[in-house]
């Protein structure tokens, strides 16, 4: 642990740096209209977008989560954790290519649903995305409070309040440009963390050979299982819920779509490929923290391995590590906050409440929303901190995606997908999965509903949403002309024109 004064100084230094960068990009890219604020004008370069996408996926939670997985299941925890995160970037590719063909003028992907199905379906989508993105922000802040608070000896609530204030301010200034530019700095810092500090930690306890031998000694009979990549036994608890939830999170996440709409159309699959595969390498490097924990801290519970193992670093390294942890945390939280601000401005304020709002009004609402939702995420995290574990929060985070992925795919590729089918699929699936969660987590008993494993709940969610959308659409089919959407363009004031 480092001195509290040093901890506050690092948070202050990080805050000044991030707000300074956001101000620079605000002036440089002239962020004075909604399109620039929400999608960076659709002209961001591949390098910047790849870094931004990758570091958004490198959750601060990975610093806790990957060592915890390794602590529970051994080396196979690497692919069990990294696989679903990477899968998300792969699965979103056909969605992204189709959307960029059909809906090139998009600011938020959720606006597509208003064109495809009308306001009621759009409202259902907005609800799911909104709570999913707030939950994403809560997950990030939760980890930030715990990790940075532990390293600096500062109360987690104070850390979270400081973080959200800084992030709220720099998003207010630069929107997506601010988010992506700070992301780039954060990306370089995160890579430096893994390339320098993870090996440093290994050598602090004697080097890779010593780590291996100590793991074998400490694990005893379990070493054959823990040191095998083919340890499939824990797959139900550690891989399947993650794969079925967060593995498709990218399709639903508005922060993913903002980057898809931001990059040049002719480079869409390239940035998703490089960023997705790169994330696997980063997550794999975080596993070194877990190996050190298994080797040097045999009595520590898996959930505490990351914090305890990082405590083995020399004092100066802990200071630098904390700065980098702030970078990783900021990149993901700011992405969710930008997404929520954009969603509120475009989808709720402009599309649902005030269709005649000018571009200036929309931009003002987006900026106010970035501060307001910073406060909402802070309060929600404060409430979650004492009642839910990190892994629970992480896995539950994927529930929203189970309602949307199947119906979204049908809507993009099947012209008969109807509004009633879509709404039925999304709403019923959410009701079913949330009810199953309530029963399975023993919050309350619902007659007739069995307790299921988390991956089974996710699977039921996917099957219900997709099957209901398909069946109801067959009974009451639409005959949608996709060319209708593609022929529209966004007017300068943010509205639509033919």
């Amino acid at each position: 642990m480092i001195n509290t004064g040093v901890g506050y100084s690092i948070i202050g230094l990080w805050g000044i740096l991030m707000i300074g960068i956001a101000y620079f990009i605000f002036r440089r890219q002239n962020v004075v209209d909604t399109k620039e604020f929400i999608t960076a004008g659709g002209r961001a370069q591949v390098g910047l977008t790849t870094a931004s996408f990758a570091v958004t996926w490198m959750w601060a939670g990975d610093i806790l989560g990957v060592p915890e997985y390794v602590g529970f299941v051994g080396v196979s925890g690497i692919w069990m954790y990294a696989g679903p995160a990477v899968l998300s970037s792969f699965i979103v590719i056909p969605f992204a290519l189709r959307m960029r063909e059909l809906f090139p003028q998009g600011l938020t992907y959720s606006e597509y649903f208003i064109k495809r199905f009308g306001k009621r379906a759009h409202l259902a989508v907005v609800f799911v995305i909104l709570y999913t993105m707030v939950l994403g922000g809560v997950i990030q802040l939760y980890v930030g409070g715990v990790v940075i608070g532990s390293l600096a000896g500062i109360d987690a609530t104070i850390v979270m309040a400081l973080l959200m204030t800084v992030i709220g301010i720099y998003i207010l200034l630069g929107g997506l440009w601010g988010s992506m530019t700070t992301d780039f700095v954060q990306f370089v810092s995160a890579i430096a963390l893994t390339l320098v500090f993870a090996p440093l930690l290994v050598f602090t306890v004697g080097g890779p050979s010593v780590v291996y031998q100590d793991m074998v000694t400490n694990l005893g009979d379990q070493s054959a299982t823990f040191l095998s990549m083919a340890n499939f036994a824990p797959i139900e608890d550690f891989f399947l819920p993650y794969a079925l939830g967060l593995g498709v999170w990218g399709v639903v996440s508005l922060s993913t779509w903002q980057r898809i709409f931001a990059v040049r159309r002719d480079k869409t699959s390239r940035f998703l490929t490089v960023a997705g595969i790169g994330v696997f390498a980063t997550i794999a490097m975080y596993s070194l923290i877990g190996f050190v924990g298994l080797a040097a801290l045999p009595d520590v519970a898996p959930g505490a391995i990351a914090i305890e193992a990082l405590g083995l670093l020399p004092g100066w390294a802990t200071v630098v590590f904390m700065l980098v942890a702030l970078m990783v945390l900021g990149s993901s939280t700011d992405s969710y906050l930008t997404a929520i601000a954009s969603l509120f401005s475009r989808d709720i304020y402009f599309r649902q409440l005030k269709p005649d709002a000018s571009d200036k009004q929309q931009l003002r609402v987006a900026r106010i929303a970035s501060l307001a939702f910073a406060a909402v995420i802070f309060v929600a995290t404060e409430l979650a901190l004492d009642s839910v574990s990190f892994i629970q929060l992480l896995l539950i985070g994927g529930i929203g995606s189970t309602a949307l992925v199947g119906p979204f795919a049908l809507s993009l590729f099947w012209s008969q997908t109807s509004s009633s089918g879509f709404i039925t699929g999304v709403v019923v699936s959410q009701i079913v999965t949330i009810s199953l969660l309530v029963v399975s987590f023993e919050v309350a008993a619902i007659p007739g509903l069995p307790a299921l494993k988390l991956w089974e709940i996710m699977l039921v969610g996917h099957l219900t949403s997709t099957a209901l959308t398909g069946v109801v659409s067959l009974v009451r089919p639409d005959d949608f002309d996709f060319e209708e959407i593609a022929q529209q363009a966004v007017a300068a004031d943010g509205g639509d024109e033919q």
Binding site: G41, P208, I277
Partner: protein, 75 residues
């Protein structure tokens, strides 16, 4: 159960992959900058070429094959 040599080799492989990833993205950024300069906000770029999509899918195929190989060799 993987041997000590394989465990060390795996860590080295992860480090090299991470280094290459970081280098490629930084190289792209240094060459390209933030956005397309001189391009108006919202200007429509052409759709992605099918050859580029196939190339990307090929890279994914190689990656997934590599992960399966890692599981088999590291079993």
């Amino acid at each position: 159960m993987m041997s000590e040599t394989m465990f060390v080799a795996m860590l080295v492989l992860f480090w090299i992959a991470e280094f290459l990833f970081g280098s490629l993205v930084v190289y792209w950024f240094l060459r390209q900058g933030f956005g397309n300069e001189g391009v108006a906000s919202g200007e429509m770029f052409p759709l992605e070429d099918a050859a580029l999509t196939k190339q990307s899918l090929g890279i994914w195929g190689l990656f997934f094959a590599g992960v399966v190989l890692l599981i088999i060799v590291g079993a």
